[in-house]
């Protein structure tokens, strides 16, 4: 059975550890809600990247989404975020 889009996501624990590793100060903490929201942001980011890359591949009549397609949409994606 195909999984619903809502089921796939980043684990709270992973996001929490990841963000903490990037903080510059030791004292910076992360609330539970913030972690879940960042996980959601990341999911949207990846989904946007995937869908836009896919559309790019489609516009070039390609059967597979390759790295070039992702590279072409990357600048706009970063600006939109």
């Amino acid at each position: 059975m195909a999984e619903k889009n809502e089921d796939i996501g980043f684990k709270k624990d992973t996001v929490s550890k990841l963000l903490s590793s990037f903080f510059k100060e030791d004292k910076t903490r992360l609330s539970g809600d913030a972690t879940l929201l960042v996980a959601e942001m990341l999911k949207v980011f990846v989904r946007e990247a995937a869908v836009r890359s896919q559309k790019q591949a489609a516009s070039e009549d390609c059967d597979q989404v390759d790295i070039e397609h992702f590279e072409k949409i990357l600048p706009q994606l970063l600006m939109d975020f």
Binding site: I8, E25, R29, H69
Partner: protein, 117 residues
Amino acid sequence: MSDDKDETQQRLKAAIHFTVGRLCQKTGEDHRRGFSRQAVAAIAETAFRQCDVFAKDLEAFARHAKRSTVTSEDVKLIARRSTALSIHIQNKTEELNQEKKSTGKRKSRDTEEESKE
């Protein structure tokens, strides 16, 4: 000591890569166009780096508000550039608040998770 940190980063990268792979697979299924391994790896790497950007911004916003804990208010700020994204995050925040109100269980589960760490 630095080896441990590298190992942790590697494991986190792998975790990100895994979920990115699944999301790409789902998108590929929906549009009947598969993603090359390179494409998935590139998206995963970019997502990983985007986390760094998020983290630095969140830390700065919290510090600006004279807090040491990053909250949902800070996350709302990083979503400000896109109206649709902003609204989506706001809705998610309200969803989380609703869940907290309806089941007090969530908070105790949260603290359970934290003490396990």
